[in-house]
Symmetry: C2
Subunit: 206 residues, 2 copies
């Protein structure tokens, strides 16, 4: 067997394991992503899982990277559709698309944010990039309106986190049962007010 085909074999196993992990998370949530179950469903040994990913966190990070890539494509498509609209509309389109993705892929989406590395480990730089891509898309919307880099970065982060927080707490349904129309109204409200240009979203009283 040549080195090439050994690499190919390893790559095929790696893909199969990530595919199995994605399926487990989609059906049962992050808690189901255990090396034993992944190995069993992929018909290989637990040793193979650890050999390829180091530990279970390595596999979780790769699985979450797939979800982030899907979310990134979904957000990019939304940005493209709204490219000609004004800033408030473009950001609102991204926010509503985020709500849609989170609702339709709830377990995978939650896994991206629920996963915590042990306190002894730092979040790997390569995986930070996947998240920065989402921010970069919002920063790009703000580019023409906010010249100062730090303010643009701060506002992009604040908007992303605000949308994430509203979607998360709405879907959690711990304050009230989930109401999609109400959630959408609240997303529109915070965006219209945050980037209000005087023409939209500001009430007269505040």
């Amino acid at each position: 067997m040549s080195e090439g085909s050994e690499d190919g074999y390893r790559e095929r196993i790696r893909e199969r394991l990530i595919g199995v992990a994605e399926g487990l998370v989609s059906r049962e949530g992050l808690g189901a992503l255990q090396a034993r179950r992944v190995a069993q469903d992929a018909d290989c040994s637990i040793g193979t899982v650890y050999n390829i990913f180091g530990d279970i966190h390595g596999l979780i990070l790769e699985t979450n990277a797939r979800t982030l890539a899907d979310l990134g494509r979904h957000q990019t498509a939304a940005a493209r559709r709204a490219a000609e609209a004004d800033l408030t509309t473009r950001l609102t389109t991204l926010a509503i698309a985020y709500l849609d993705f989170a609702t339709l892929n709830q377990r995978r989406w939650r896994a991206v944010f629920e996963h915590r590395l042990p306190d002894t480990k730092t979040f790997p730089e390569a995986h930070r990039e996947d998240r920065r891509t989402l921010l970069a898309l919002i920063e790009a919307q703000l580019e023409s309106e906010i010249g100062e880099t730090r303010l643009r970065e701060d506002l992009a982060f604040a908007l992303f986190a605000a949308v994430h927080g509203i979607v998360l707490l709405s879907l959690d349904a711990k304050i009230a049962p989930f109401d999609p129309a109400q959630c959408e109204r609240r997303l529109r409200l915070v965006i219209a007010r945050t980037v209000a240009d005087g023409s939209s979203g500001k009430s007269a009283k505040i």
Copy 2:
């Protein structure tokens, strides 16, 4: 033994179990809150834990209720300190206090939001109230400025969720290492822009 003292005994065991559960969550996070460990540390049987709380979720809900009560007192104290200030300052004071509480009680605070009931269970109404108390405090700040109830409720929820999202994603340190000054700047930014009354926080360009 009279019924009164049996009740008293049950109440003392209940308090002891919640205390043990709080300690486990504080030191190790929600994942450590297992019936077996709580029973062991409280020197009672697992059956007693289930007898008092129904299942582990019952104990988690009670433990989280303590954290929410602490958080509520902390937020109320912050609101009292800022009572004479303008709206932006009052809301910013609450947001910074929220960041402080989350930073200092990170594992207990995370447990409040990480805990998920099984899909077959609805979040109990009594425990929704604890969370509504936090929203009510923000609504009270908005009362004099926003007369319309639905808008006031929407804005209070959106502000709370935005602050929660910014604190959560900053502390997660998955996009960049946690930087308290940066997080505080972003909290101030989103609040100043959301409730801007023309006098503060709005940039000239947007």
